[in-house]
Symmetry: D2
Subunit: 436 residues, 4 copies
């Protein structure tokens, strides 16, 4: 993060909170409880908030006074973008917290992401009651289903108004958070009292500021299983090569995590560390040396790695329905290049290509993610009931906080000069650089 | 099986057994203990052996007298063809039985399949001791590695002779069993006293006569996990389609097993039940109806299914190094055809394609397969020590038996008129025929 | 089995089958299709049926003509005795087969075992529809719950009559099958047209004649996990002893299976192989030698083992509500004896006692058991619809058959002179006898 | 934590670091990099360090200059106390970091905890090389084994000196950290240059200051499985009660975590929330109401809960070899009390008691713990090589830090007034208080 940039961690609010919280607990928090943005002893005051105090962030948690009257409140939940372990846990937690602790009984689920707010798709809404969500944490995916793609902001706000939604909980990625920002702006522009709360979701674990995104932990566990299989395959045949492509569009967090959890990977290729294919330092030559030495090899590649190697071959850049840059598929590309290389060398190899992405992202959350999702859902509800809006809940410095939507972006990188990547280099034994 | 064909279940032998077995047990069996080939009350005598008695099969088990002197015996193990859960369990069982019960201490492992018997590959042999194999059942694949491809029979027998191998245990599939047959013939022709015992391996579970091949049970367990993910993916997006390609070159045993173990599959496509893509009864139209009705769909396809749909597009038939017909890849083909079909209909679908084959076949055996492999290895050793040759051990009518190599062939089918397939139809709800 | 005893495998029937089966399949079977009881080439005719033919057993499967008119048929399912993996799979299969293939739409579930047929307990019945049972195979236990204990036979038949039940499917153990026999007799005595079909359940896998009971396979998988933990514990402390008590009231099938699936067990103690505690050959002395040699030890004991060691200490024999002999708890007894022994020797040991029974029996069925349960349920329905009664479905010689209730008994033993036990001795290294 | 107490986070050091680190990285840290102890915007300066600056904590990480010369350094690792998932991961990480990154090749493992430093036990030491530890993360427990109990501090330091150990890495709990403190003091008193670094281990996750102890995450995952079984058992019988005792001597972290990860628990009983058994608000009465309403119940009890209920029955307080208070076993006690209560009421219940402790703590670490352990091991090595001593590595505010041994204590509680416990109450539906 650039130390010179200006941050504004002010959280938008629909207005004054005048209603007594029904929670009746002893541990209410207040908007004045804030944690320092920078916790370094010698730098905590380097960045200042407009009030001149060190830059700080609002703590999440229940407020003694809330904005919405629970008996009259209607809430909605929508899930957008790709699947990720834990979505159902978040849905469950939001419903349970609203219903049992705040007494909000009118909760609906919007089906198929933002499509569900656009009349032409004719998706029906779902009534969400404790009975409905009780056991959904045992199921992968989203019981509300999801969709990609932009929808008309005005139409969506019309729908919220038409359905008398007071609080909208949006579970989605970086792109979804952008849309949620525009929805909030439109609501503010129309002077409506609708709170919009984001719960950030990206299996890639690459959001800036946020300590860990939900589902990442589960993804690592599942990735490890696929890598173990690649290792067995690599050792099972003469000159066996196990090539595993893993999620990670802009970052190698899953790849590095999985490599550190398991010792069987020999090469980790991530977007943060470009590499050459050809040349004496290039990946293919290094791979050849490894194979001649050890007769087998396991390669783990993040989907966003090596994109620059494929650039020259194609026309204009494409994006998917969510506006994500459509990546070239590095998996089959690398497979073909490796096979070609060794064919030219008349060296017989046995390459097995494994792409476990869908079997990773669609499993139920593990216990750790399940607990984490439970907390995120709970804090999202506290924020919504207090009339906060245009914000998301996240974990920073091991504290649950409120963050303005506009500050969040994907793309947080694995530091190629940092301790984590050094441990990967040590674990794999791969050269620090495969550039010529 | 053709009722008119002649069967000969006679097991070849290297000669008379004159050495007392060191087992010293009370449950020795004899070559005269045989089970009926046909156990049907009204048909058991329909087929006759040359001696006029009803056709029957030799029972496996320890013999009181054996052919080889344990103290002077040298055994070798080789694993050929594709990986399959349980190979290491068989290796372990053979070594433990030879070493601890018969006292054979000279056991070697041939690396990389039949390549390991051909000098030019320069693969080293491995000494196999109890200490080496003790924990290998916890690892997938084969500690000896494997390879495909034919090798020169004469050279292989030269190697066996040069290394003074007395018993060769071959773990491999249908193709391997053919090679093992030729090796046995060559040994017989040269009048050598080398016993060759097969332990049949095919994850597809499609060997004739044999009740169940090892690894199949584990494969089903793993396949089920991939299908659960496909189901989650299918339900997670508008018009979601989960397409899973599973092993099964000539038969749909894994596909039917997995579909019966789990209720989430809507279409099972297997080689035994051809289908059309186009036309009103064709698969694509049926799929469309299903999607319009239920908005999501899970399709499970065996790799050998629908091969005829792709025939016209290509040149001469290819085979792989093991001599297996090289199949066209039905997975991507079907994916493309489905996507094209709905694109033409301007109906947006979300297809997720999952090919879990390598992550299925490379896991360690589950407990059930582990026990089964233990028994197979043990019976293989009993047979080898008794000087049997040109045979394999298998399970029939829940009895372990000796079968001549030449009688075994892959390609046993799922009966499209049988009870099992009917249960699949019932479970999936798919039409009995998708032919026009 | 005693070769001199008389067997009668005749299956009772409610009367002639006159209604066309709605299945409309090509693979109907008939009552004349029978498999030989003894399939040994030289002994298949040693035992004769009353008609002078070799003793044989009726094959299960759909009949072209059935007894009950599906549109008017009402079926009930009841689950009795202890939990076992797969009960819900059987329930599911029975409902699906009745409903989808035979068109029987009136199916009820009796709650809490036979209690559910006795008015005073006031348990309500459950309507069982495909929608209700669709996903229950993912849950352990029984959705109908179960109970132990004898109930009045007359009252139960009254209930069946009052509710107009035509077919009663009973899932239960040995004791339940006895009760089912008496229910059938009472029905016959009253001349009622009610079919009673058993699906035998015992996690111990100790029924005579039957190849494998459902749930056993899953039980082994789970037992293996507990033993792995015991092994880790044993190695984790000085003179560590891991003691695992496993199911097996009269037999050591689970213990032997688990020991064969895993190589970490050093002693397997089963009811079939009595042992002494004291004395130079006794278990405690052997254990001491093992500990001094290797510093750790894993002991697996079946709950029915060593009962005779505890006899002298107690009064009259007790039975539980199901009439099962109430066993003394060998686990804590052995734990105390081991600890006392080494305390007297002033030898510090670290014993960790693990009793995983409830966490083994209450998991969902694994894929293999799930498929098996599916078949059992299906064959039970074919039998019931054909008006068979007083029988159960089972697997013998890898064929599904009909067996008269009265022929089935629990208590099938592990043969202490057989191959399986020899493999256990080899795997553990324990002495063949620990009797003085 | 008491806001008035004085903290001193100064880390002891063996002397000036004068040797260039062989790491040659760009991300060295320095001793002046410190994070604030209190990160609250309005309170960060409430507590002051001796230098008048806000209280802060030293950051972990590699230093550019180190104290020990790698080529001449000898390190030792010892594991003490009870097993916990992840110990082997820490051992592996320490060895790999020392060997591959610092070039320390002389690393030994002390067997059986502190016993291994006392000659009379005659435990041999183990040479720890990368080859030895490469795959140990796949195994539960500790490859070095462990022991409980105090040993003579002087004798242990004698042993360290005799073996020329430069750095001792101690993996252990609260009690071990006390011993490590005394060892450090003895070393300091003798003016020896031996660094002693702790890596804190407690599956209970109850250390003050530290965000999360390793193994806790895995423990929750495993506990959840046992609870699922208890739920199945409870629903499987009339008036079924599943009672699960879980780890948690002084705190209910595992119990609350497991209850939050799974929704099937109806009562969570933890040391932090005392309860009565008898009386109208007492647990037994509340349980009775629950059973009458819902017919089944799942109870999760931490081992340290309800100790006061058992006090009156016994003599003097006992401690185990590690000096831990020997707890009364609440599991069987509560089981007996529940059964007595309902027997008196003539209400038949079916209670199943599950104690999964050993099968929880002895599994291998899950992926998340595995990565965490890897980092802890790495940071411990950085600290040791820099000549730090009398400290441990831990995670606080999501930063790895150095903490003085004397500041760490077990017993951190679940706050009975806090958000986490509120979520447990909401999830279980149990009354906030079961005191009269």
């Amino acid at each position: 993060m650039n130390q010179n940039s200006t941050y504004d961690f002010t959280i938008q609010s629909l207005g004054e909170c005048t209603i007594d919280s029904p929670l009746n607990v002893s541990y209410y928090t207040t908007d004045t409880r804030r944690v320092l943005f920078n916790i370094d002893l010698h730098h905590y005051a380097d960045l200042k908030a407009p009030d001149g105090l060190p830059l700080s962030i609002e703590i999440a948690g229940p407020r003694a006074k809330i904005f919405f009257d629970p008996a009259k409140t209607k809430a909605a939940i929508v899930t957008c973008g790709g699947l990720c372990p834990g979505i159902n846990d978040v849905i469950r937690a939001v419903v349970m917290e609203l219903y049992h602790r705040y007494g909000v009984q009118n909760i609906i689920g919007i089906k198929y992401g933002f499509q569900g707010l656009i009349p032409k798709y004719r998706h029906e809404v779902v009534q969400l009651l404790p009975e409905v969500v009780k056991d959904i944490h045992a199921i992968g995916g989203s019981i509300l289903s999801s969709s990609r793609g932009r929808q008309d902001i005005g139409e969506m706000v019309n729908a919220l108004k038409r359905m008398n939604i007071d609080i909208l909980f949006c579970i989605g990625g970086d792109g979804t958070m952008r849309a949620v920002e525009y929805i909030t702006d439109e609501i503010t522009g129309r002077n409506l009292n609708i709170s919009v709360i984001g719960i950030p979701k990206t299996i890639d674990n690459d959001l800036n500021l946020i300590q860990k995104t939900f589902g990442y932990d589960t993804a690592i566990s599942e990735a490890v299983k696929a890598i173990e299989c690649a290792h067995v395959e690599a050792k099972g045949a003469p000159m066996g090569v196990g090539l595993v492509k893993i999620m990670g569009r802009q970052s190698g967090h899953i790849a590095t995590g999985a490599a550190l959890a398991l010792s069987d990977v020999n090469f980790v290729l991530i977007p943060e560390v470009p590499f050459d294919l050809e040349g004496d330092n290039g990946f293919l030559k290094v791979l050849e040396r490894r194979l001649l030495l050890r007769n087998h090899c396991v390669i783990l590649i993040a989907e966003g790695a090596g994109q620059e190697l494929m650039h020259h071959e194609d026309g204009p850049v494409e994006t998917d329905a969510s506006g994500n840059l459509r990546l070239h598929d590095i998996g089959p590309f690398l497979k073909a290049r490796i096979e070609d290389y060794f064919k030219q060398k008349a060296m017989e190899i046995n390459l097995k290509y494994i792409d476990p992405s869908y079997t990773i992202r669609s499993v139920p959350a593990n216990a750790s993610d399940s607990i984490y999702c439970g907390a995120l859902g709970q804090y999202a509800v506290h924020a919504g009931m207090a009339g906060k809006t245009g914000m998301l809940v996240g974990l920073m410095k091991d504290e649950y906080v409120h963050l303005p939507l506009k500050i969040i972006a994907s793309g947080a990188k694995v530091n190629p000069e940092g301790n984590v990547w050094m441990r990967v280099l040590e674990s794999t034994g791969q050269p620090p650089s495969m550039k010529n």
